[in-house]
Symmetry: C2
Subunit: 258 residues, 2 copies
C-alpha cells in the first residue's frame, strides 16, 4: 500500500485519540448515565466528521463508511473505502471510562489493505498492513499459536452463549473464557495471541473491519459463524480464531468430536 496513506490514517487516529481522551476527562465530571450517553454520541459523531473532513481534503476520491451516518451511502467497496468505528465499545466508554477502541479498516476494491485498532486509554496500537504481518506498538506480533481447544481462552458475549446448549458445552471444553465488551479489542487480542477465539452473533462492518485485518495478518481465520467470508457491507455474525482452534470449535459446533 501507499506509505502516505498509512501515515495519514495513523495521524488521523492519533488526533482522534487525543480528542477522545480530552472529552473522557471532562466526562468524569458528568454524573448521569443519560449525560454520558450523550457524551459518547457526541464524541462518536465528531470523530467521524473529523475523518470525513480529512478525507475530503487529503483523499477526495476515498469514501468513508462509519457508524454515525456515513454508512448509508455505501453500497459497494469499489475504489478505496475507509471503514471506521470512532468508539468501539460504547458501553465500556460510558460505564468504565476505559476498554474501548478506535477501529479502522481500509479496503481497496474490497480487499483489505490496512487495519488499526487503538486502545485509547491503555495506549495499545494494533496495526496491520496487508501482506506485512500484524504489529503492537511497532513490535511485530508472532503468528497466532497452534493451541488445543482445552488449552484455549475464548471470548464472547455471555448473554448469548448461556442460552445455547452447544456453546455451553464449548465453555466446558476450553481453558477459560473472557469477555471484554469490545469486538475491535477482542479481535486485536486474537491477533496478539492473548485469546484464541472470539465469537459474536451479530456485528456491523465497522465493528470488525479493522480487527479482522489484524487477525488475518497474524495468520488467524475470520469468517461468519457459517464459515463464510465477511462482505463488510452487511451486519453478520463473526468467528475469529487461531486455525487449530477454529477447526476444533467448528467440529464441536457441527457435532463432531474434537
Amino acid at each position: 500500500m501507499d506509505e502516505s496513506l498509512r501515515q495519514a490514517a495513523l495521524q488521523y487516529i492519533s488526533e482522534a485519540a487525543a480528542y477522545i481522551r480530552t472529552e473522557m476527562k471532562k466526562g468524569y465530571d458528568v454524573d448521569t448515565k443519560a449525560n454520558k450517553d450523550d457524551l459518547v454520541t457526541t464524541v462518536d459523531k465528531n470523530v467521524e466528521t473529523m475523518f470525513q473532513e480529512k478525507l475530503a481534503q487529503d483523499f477526495p476520491e476515498h469514501r468513508l463508511m462509519g457508524e454515525e451516518g456515513s454508512f448509508e451511502n455505501i453500497h459497494d467497496l469499489d475504489g478505496t473505502v475507509w471503514i471506521l468505528d470512532p468508539i468501539d465499545g460504547t458501553v465500556n466508554f460510558v460505564h468504565m471510562g476505559t476498554g474501548f477502541a478506535v477501529s479502522l479498516g481500509i479496503f481497496q476494491d474490497g480487499e483489505p489493505v490496512f487495519g488499526v485498532v487503538y486502545d485509547v486509554m491503555n495506549d495499545e496500537l494494533f496495526t496491520a498492513v496487508a501482506g506485512e504481518g500484524a504489529y503492537l506498538n511497532g513490535h511485530a506480533l508472532p503468528n497466532v499459536p497452534d493451541r488445543t481447544l482445552s488449552g484455549s481462552l475464548i471470548s464472547f458475549n455471555t448473554g448469548w452463549v448461556i442460552h445455547n446448549e452447544k456453546y455451553r458445552e464449548l465453555v466446558d471444553k476450553v481453558r477459560g473464557t473472557r469477555s471484554y465488551g469490545s469486538a475491535a479489542l477482542e479481535l486485536a487480542y486474537v491477533a496478539a495471541g492473548r485469546i484464541d477465539a472470539y465469537l459474536s452473533l451479530r456485528l456491523a462492518p465497522w465493528d470488525v473491519a479493522g480487527g479482522s485485518i489484524l487477525v488475518q495478518e497474524a495468520r488467524g481465520l475470520v469468517t461468519n459463524l457459517n464459515g463464510e467470508k465477511l462482505d463488510f457491507l452487511h451486519k453478520d455474525s463473526l468467528f475469529a480464531a487461531a486455525p487449530t482452534v477454529y477447526r476444533d470449535i467448528t467440529n464441536h459446533l457441527n457435532g463432531h468430536s474434537s
Copy 2:
C-alpha cells in the same frame, strides 16, 4: 495507619513489578506453555521470597501470608499480617502477557489497614488506606455509584455461571457481563465503578485481601455468597458489589423480585 508502613509496601510492590516486567519480557521468548507455567511459578515464588526478606529486615514482627507456601504457618490474623498474591491472574500472565496484578492487603488484628492492587502491564495502581477512601494512580475514586440492576455491568467466571439457572437469569437482567480472569483486578474495577458486581464461587484469601479493602473504601460491599463476612483465613466464595446492586442481586438469588 503508620505512613512508613504504607510507603514501604508501595516500594516493595514497585520493585516486584519492575522484576515481573523484566521476566515477562524474557517470557515472550519462551515458546511452550510448560515453560511459561514454569516462568510464572518462578516469578510468583521469587516475589514472595522478596517480600519475606523485606519484612524480616524492616518489620520483623509482621507476618506474611502468600500463595507460595507462606500461608501454611498463618492460622490467625493477630498482630500485623501482610496477605500477598504476587501474581493474581496467572493464566492471563502465561497466556496473555497482561491482565494480571500484584495484590496486597495489610491487616492489624484482623482489621484491614491498607489494600493495593497493581495492574503491572497497564500501570494502574489501585490503593486504599482504611478510612481514607480508594485511589487510582493517586487520584481519589468517587464512591461506587447507585446503579439499577438493569443498568449494571457484572463480572464472574462464565464456566460456573452457565450451569446455574439463577445466575443465567441474572445475566438476562443486567446491562452486560464481563470476565477478566483476575479476581484482584475485578475487585479493583468494582471499587473504581467500572463494573458494579463481581461474583466468584471459590477464592483464596490472597486473591481477595487487597481488592476487598479497595471495594470497602469506595463504599462497596464485600461478603461471601451467603452474605457473611470474609475471614481471610480460609477459601470462600466472594460477592463484591455496589450497595444497590448487592441488594438487587441478593433479592434475585433469594427468589424475590427486584
